[in-house]
């Protein structure tokens, strides 16, 4: 038996200590010892030193050993599904008023930390958009989110608010006046039902849909042509010829994530495919869709209708007077009847009628344009909103409930809106975030963030999804549907309402299906009506638009900010636009020739309609046109959004009840002011270097390694003095198909969310210190009037002969046994030698402390904002280098899972954040050591090459050459 040592009799006898001293008495006890020591002693040098030493030691102990106590309270009863350190995933739906994604929310320890695309029976194959990825951060936006119900801007209680609102609603209804509910498109079937019930409860009420960037012209044209106010589903995967007039369908138009997936299928040359679609893009400003096009034709927006007329005519009869370009296009289209798509983003009914007629002529209806799965995501008819405004002005509508719309910001005539909003007796906002409109609302019953909400969606006919809360509401908010139910005097909550609706209308009362659908998130119901017949409208009456002098101004949405509702999201604000590479601003894009004509220079400003806007000289911009992005220039949204850029909505008005997208006859004046834009790429040419290797389909069909001949040569010459690394286990690698990559930047945000990448702000971006681990390099080539554009996603290449590794003096960056180039942050002393020696310049340095620093007052500077951080990834300290880890935490997670389940890892099971988010499936991750894996096959593809492979860095990332179909025309 072990000897037992004891310090006191109490301990020996297992008695509690006689005196339970807390910290303070303990300290005073120390002092007493000293007093005892001093007592009755003469002051000798020896004693003096002894006491001094004791005093110092005591002071040091007392001051340093007291660490703040952080309390972690364990569960009393642990919920069954919560395991600390293990993530839960909940299927849900993302809809921001225009774009929809079925998603899976990753929840760690009770807080949602990441959005992933839902790949179960999903049309997006798990892809999402950058905005969907970033929406998680808005959940933790402690500044913009509304926290309590208010009345005239002052906090109130829900009961008081409900009482007042119900009273007013009843008064209005009894007075024979109307209450209008103004919302973005409602794609939730149960909510539509609920709104109908609300309208029944308060007779005279009306529901108006409002969208700042509407598809009104298209809806009206489709009503005329097909008798249905819907937008057909465009089956880009079935199209062999795609002609788009200004529709940025890979970036911002309609459902880009889904279209990117479908489009990528037609641009896929892996697996022995020999065919590419042929894509022609007519557009004003350069978009990512235009960049991917095989042929891009810059046009003035006013020319669009003329071109459509010419194309329509050329299709109807050969040998019309149309220009040769249109003739040949018509020829190609005619050869691909039923296999082509013609789309236009115009908001002009006439243009859309022509488009419908063209598609009808091409027999595309029912083939590539499918009305059975028509889009329901856009419902706004511009004229209805105009009508509502005049009804309010006339006093006919005396109550207004706003839900997720912000007309004071995004309606062109701000003064009119402000005046009108002050007229109704009752104005209530159901929005979840603060905005410019809120100040004019009497009441506010703040809504949940969508991740706190129940819901459902039918974004396309027959494609039903459910949304479930991933976290309990953080603030004292209430879901708008619950508010409406309350105000209707109903006791049931929206969850009950939703479930009843689904059981009654969709699931035929099957409870089990409810649970299954909730788990999967998606329910497909086949709709098999016959396609609507085309009702010819008289398109011949559509007049040719005469050429106008002056400049034409076009508004467009950016990939990051869209229509501007997420402007307070720092991730999106700092997302470089894939074309201009500018973030933290909008600008007036003009072509180089226009710039010299106007005398405008980069760094200068243009005065357009009394607004000074910074100039960006954009190659590929149509001559005499100016493109300006909407979504910027907020004044009351939060510290990120406010006064960044200029609000472009007021620049273009409403004509005949229809929101215009462009305006002619603008006279911009070069302003004296100067302005610096923050751009993440300063040089735009590849300088003839084999960085993005590209070829044409014709050459590719002759030789599979066209444009990539040097790869073979370099591989053959591959020689080294050193022992080559053998990978015993896994050898991780990544392949990026440049043909599929659209530049949409979802991967950038997905990576930022997964890896706790900080936001650094405009000033630091201007110093070339953006922290994003993933970047999209964009290069121009050819004519500056209409350049070829290529994209190249770039992250750490995980070189097996990494230049960064051998120069680190402390071995902080080194190679894993699985081929990963890894950094031990704790070991890094920050010499930055690795940054210099990286030929790809993908390593990032923590120039400052980015977390908990008031100088970087973004999401990592508040307790709430830090909730989004991924606990699996370290938040880096000032002074260390960081970079892409190929999501080593995800690799580890899946490896452990496979080990626990006693099975081998499956190919494709591990998906880094970028690959998971990529809508077009351009990023493939896998094990190079497994010869059967997808990545191994891609690495053997003759199109595969490694960036700067002649340096013998042996990257584990491969690129597949870009093949354009440009010589078929």
């Amino acid at each position: 038996m072990e000897k037992k040592y004891w310090k006191s009799l109490e301990e020996l006898n297992n008695q509690p200590p006689t005196e339970k001293g807390d910290n303070n008495t303990h300290q005073s006890g120390l002092l007493e010892i000293m007093n005892d020591e001093i007592a009755g002693k003469t002051t000798s040098r020896r004693n003096f030193l002894k006491i001094c030493g004791y005093g110092f030691a005591t002071a040091a102990i007392a001051s340093s050993c007291e660490n703040p106590v952080k309390k972690a309270i364990p569960y009393l009863n642990k919920p069954e599904e919560v395991t600390p350190g293990m993530a839960n995933h909940y299927a849900s739906s993302y809809f921001d008023g225009s774009e929809f994604s079925p998603i899976v929310v990753k929840v760690r320890d009770g807080r949602p930390i990441k959005i992933e695309g839902n790949d179960i029976e999903s049309l997006t194959n798990g892809g999402t958009s950058a905005r969907a990825q970033a929406s998680i951060l808005s959940l933790y936006d402690g500044e913009a989110r509304l926290k309590t119900p208010t009345r005239d801007g002052k906090a109130t209680s829900y009961s008081a608010l409900d009482e007042a609102v119900v009273q007013k609603l009843t008064n209005i209804s009894e007075a024979g006046k109307a209450t209008a509910l103004l919302t973005p498109p409602i794609i939730s079937p149960s909510t539509r039902q609920l709104i109908n019930e609300f309208i029944d409860a308060y007779p005279g009420s009306t529901h108006v849909v409002y969208e700042p960037v509407s598809y009104s012209g298209m809806l009206e044209a489709n009503k005329m042509s097909f008798g249905k106010t819907v937008i057909p589903d465009y089956k880009f995967d079935r199209a062999e010829v795609i002609v788009s007039f200004g529709a940025d369908f890979l970036g911002t138009w309609l459902s880009p994530a889904e279209f990117a997936a479908a489009y990528a299928k037609t641009r896929d040359l892996t697996g022995n495919q020999k065919k590419l679609s042929y894509h022609v893009q007519f557009e004003t400003g350069l978009s990512i869709t235009g960049s991917k096009a095989d042929k891009r034709i810059p046009i003035k927006p006013s020319e669009e209708i003329n071109l459509l007329r010419a194309l329509d005519a050329a299709l109807a009869q050969q040998g019309s007077e149309a220009p040769a370009e249109i003739q040949s296009l018509a020829h190609i289209l005619r050869q691909n009847k039923g296999k082509s798509i013609v789309v236009s983003a115009s908001n002009d009914v006439h243009a859309q009628l022509l488009v419908n007629h063209i598609n009808h002529q091409l027999e595309n209806i029912g083939q590539t344009l499918d009305f059975n799965s028509a889009f329901l995501t856009h419902q706004c008819i511009d004229a209805e909103f105009e009508n509502l405004l005049s009804r309010i002005d006339s006093g006919e509508v005396n109550g207004l409930i706003l839900w997720g719309v912000n007309p004071v910001y995004d309606y062109p005539d701000t003064a009119r809106i402000v005046a009108t909003l002050q007229k109704p007796e009752l104005t209530v906002s159901l929005s979840s975030t603060t905005d410019e409109t809120l100040a004019f609302m009497k009441y506010c019953s703040p809504g949940h963030h969508y991740l706190e909400s129940w819901g459902d969606a039918e974004y396309k006919q027959g494609y039903l999804t459910l949304a479930q809360p991933a976290i309990r509401n953080i603030y004292s908010t209430r879901q708008p549907q619950d508010s409406l139910l309350k105000w209707m005097g109903k006791e049931e909550d929206y969850y009950t309402f939703l479930k009843n609706y689904w059981l009654t209308h969709i699931l035929n009362g099957n409870e089990a299906d409810w649970t299954t659908t909730l788990q999967k998130g998606v329910l497909l119901k086949s709709v098999s009506e016959s396609q609507p017949s085309f009702q010819a409208t008289d398109t011949s009456s559509i007049q040719e638009v005469p050429a106008t002098g002056g400049y034409e101004l076009v508004l467009y949405e950016t990939i990051a900010l869209g229509n501007g509702q997420y402007a307070n999201n720092p991730w999106l604000m700092e997302l470089p636009d894939p074309i201009s590479k500018v973030c933290w601003d909008n600008f007036a894009a003009i072509s180089p020739a226009t710039a010299s004509k106007l005398g405008a220079v980069a760094g200068g400003m243009l005065n357009i309609k009394e607004v000074d806007i910074p100039v960006l000289i954009q190659p590929g911009q149509a001559e005499d046109t100016i493109s300006i992005a909407v979504g910027f220039g907020h004044t009351a949204m939060g510290k990120v959004a406010n006064s960044v850029g200029k609000n472009a909505y007021p620049l273009i008005g409403v004509l005949n009840g229809s929101r215009q997208r462009y305006v002619t006859g603008i006279t911009p004046v070069v302003s004296k002011a100067t302005y610096a834009l923050a751009s993440t790429q300063m040089h735009h040419s590849m300088e003839g270097r084999p960085i993005v290797r590209e070829t044409t389909l014709k050459e590719y069909l002759v030789s599979n390694d066209a444009g990539n001949e040097m790869h073979k040569e370099i591989e053959e010459k591959n020689i080294t003095l050193y022992k080559e690394i053998k990978f015993e286990g896994h050898h991780w690698g990544m392949a990026i198909d440049l043909n599929k990559c659209t530049g949409c930047s979802t991967c950038v945000i997905s990576c930022q969310a997964e890896n706790n990448v900080p936001v650094v702000g405009k000033e630091e971006v201007m110093k070339y210190r953006i922290m994003q681990w993933m970047r999209i390099d964009r290069y121009y080539s050819g004519d500056e009037k209409n350049p070829e554009v290529v994209f190249q996603p770039l992250m750490c290449q995980h070189c097996d002969n990494a230049p960064c590794e051998n120069v680190c003096p402390v071995s902080a960056t080194n190679h894993s046994a699985e081929g990963l180039n890894q950094i031990a942050y704790n070991r890094c002393v920050g010499t930055k030698y690795c940054i210099n020696n990286c030929p790809y310049k993908v390593r990032r340095f923590n120039w400052f402390r980015y977390a908990t620093n008031n100088e970087f007052d973004y999401n990592m500077n508040s307790d709430l904002g830090r909730m989004v951080l991924n606990p699996d990834v370290t938040v880096r300290e000032r002074g260390v280098v960081e970079k892409c880890s190929l999501c080593v935490q995800r690799i580890q997670e899946k490896k452990l899972l496979a080990k626990n389940e006693n099975r081998l890892l499956q190919d494709g099971e591990i998906q880094p954040a970028c690959a998971q988010g990529c809508p077009s499936g351009a990023i493939i991750f896998g094990d190079l050591a497994d010869p059967e894996s997808r990545i191994s096959k891609l690495f053997k593809d003759p199109r595969n090459y490694h960036l700067l492979e002649d340096l013998h860095t042996l990257p584990s990332v491969g690129y597949l050459t870009l093949v354009k179909n440009s010589n078929e025309a």
Binding site: Q681, M682, H683, H684, S685, M686, E687, G688, R689, I691, E764, K767, Y768, R769, I770, R775, D777, R778, Y779, Q792, L794, P803, N806, V807, C808, P809, V810, S811, R827, C828, V829, G830, T831, K832, Y833, I835, N836, N837, P839, Y840, K841, R843, R844, F845, N846, W847, F848, R849, E877, R878, G879, V880, V881, L947, L948, L951, T953
Partner: protein, 461 residues
């Protein structure tokens, strides 16, 4: 050996042993002159500014500098290499001229070695300061530890650098100090001040000048000299490997080790010239630092300048001859004709062309011209490092990561601070340490000096 009058005497003014001691020790005993006080004040102000900049760097972060995602090293490494280069001259003087039996080194080597020690101290600030986490700089020591044990990366040139510089600083300082021991003893013996007696006595190590002591002294000199000779070559070759080992175009060059060593000696000699002109002027040491001393330095500078010109030409030639598109871009389209052409041609003019003026005897003899040229050389050498470091990093392989760089006040502040430290260090040396090796000067007095007694030059034996 030969006797010739061509080289001229190295000590003028009819000196004897006593006079040499008196002359050299004079500044130590005299009150400091006004110019010294002013210069010292300015140096300390500069040093203070540097301290503020260093405080800013350490407390806020490297972000206070102008460096960025592509240009990870900038002013701090330019200045580091520049100072190390300057710090080359002292030991080079002592060793190489000793080996070559150049007697004229005796009046210069002390100052050159002092300058070396101060310059290396200035240089050593930068590698530490440029670390993101300078408080963990000790990770770079290979010491047994409980972290595995985790060792340093012996493949990294930065580690070699650390070893080379510490060794160089240690040996240079020892070499300098041990050379001073007999002189300290001389001061101790001559002074009347008790404090000076104590202090110099302490540093004199109880030197009494016995023949046994001289024997040991010379043996130590040879040992340290032998080690230092290797280090003179190794330290800057190793600094050059910081660049040569990398893959970056403009860095990845095999010519770097000799090119850096020669460049370092070039800047070091130029700095010696600057300093000797100041010493000669301010302390009226014309008898010891004669125009033939400066003439000799100038001739060496012509020679090294030619080597530098050859090195620049070689670099450009190899870039073209290799056919490597990245190298061709770096040398021809980025440096010679591109955004950095001003810096490039400044380097060429200052280092390869201006020193050629020394071919003219009039210019060699004109102290003002020599002084200006010596300063121009050091400016040129600073731009050489600027060219190597900034241009290569700012525009390397992928045009997407091409950036521009400009320094902030903090980086400039740190540099100004090291200039202040150098100035202050050198001024303290002027005041408290014999500026010339008294014992060694005495050693050549009978061989090469002008003596009124026999009215003739005594030249080399």
């Amino acid at each position: 050996m030969y006797k010739t009058e061509v080289r001229g005497p190295l000590i003028l003014g009819d000196k004897n042993y006593h006079q040499i001691s008196t002359d050299i020790i004079a500044p130590i005993n005299q009150p400091v002159p006004l110019w010294w006080k002013v210069a010292f004040g300015i140096s300390n102000l500069a040093l203070l500014f540097g301290l503020v900049a260093i405080y800013q760097t350490v407390s806020v972060g490297i972000g206070t500098w102008g460096v960025n995602n592509s240009v990870g090293w900038a002013w701090e490494i330019i200045n580091f290499v520049w100072w190390i280069g300057i710090g080359h001259a002292g030991t080079a003087f002592s060793i190489f001229l000793l080996v070559l039996r150049q007697k004229w080194r005796t009046s210069i080597n002390r100052a050159a070695e002092a300058m070396t020690v101060v310059a290396v101290m200035c240089a050593a600030i930068f590698p530490a300061l440029h670390m993101g986490r300078v408080w963990l700089a000790f990770y770079i020591f290979p010491y047994p530890n409980t972290r595995g044990p985790l060792w340093v990366n012996y493949n990294s040139p930065l580690f070699w650098d650390f070893i080379a510089i510490s060794a160089y600083l240690l040996i240079s300082a020892s070499f300098w100090y041990f050379g001073m021991v007999p002189d300290f003893a001389t001061i101790r013996d001559r002074t009347t001040s008790k404090i000076k007696k104590a202090v110099y006595g302490f540093f004199a190590f109880g030197w009494v000048g016995t023949s046994r002591e001289w024997l040991r002294f010379e043996a130590l000199s040879y040992v340290l000299g032998g080690i230092a000779a290797v280090l003179v070559v190794s330290v800057h070759s190793i600094v050059s490997t910081d660049f040569a080992v990398s893959v970056i175009p403009g860095w990845h060059t095999t010519v770097f080790p000799p090119y850096f060593v020669v460049g370092a000696i070039f800047s070091g000699f130029a700095m010696v010239m600057t300093l000797m002109i100041i010493i000669r002027k301010m302390y009226k040491f014309q008898d010891y630092v004669t125009s033939s001393h400066l003439n000799a330095i100038a001739k060496i500078l012509i020679f090294i300048s030619l080597i530098m010109g050859t090195a620049y030409a070689t670099e450009a030639f190899i870039a073209w001859y290799s056919g490597n598109r990245y190298e061709i871009f770096t040398f021809f389209y980025n440096r010679a004709t591109g955004d950095y052409s001003i810096e490039y041609w400044t380097m060429i003019i200052c280092n390869a062309i201006v020193p050629q003026l020394f071919w003219f005897k009039k210019i060699r003899k004109n102290l003002t011209a020599a002084f200006i040229i010596s300063i121009i050389i050091n400016i040129g050498m600073w731009f050489e490092r600027y060219n190597i470091i900034i241009t290569s990093l700012a525009k390397d392989f992928l045009p997407s990561s091409w950036v521009t760089y400009s320094p902030t006040w903090v980086e400039i502040g740190v540099f100004v601070g090291t200039l202040g430290l150098f100035g202050a260090g050198v001024l303290l040396f002027f005041k408290f340490i014999p500026m010339m090796a008294i014992s060694e000067l005495k050693g050549i007095l009978k061989v090469t000096s002008y003596n009124t007694n026999d009215k003739k030059h005594i030249s080399h034996e």
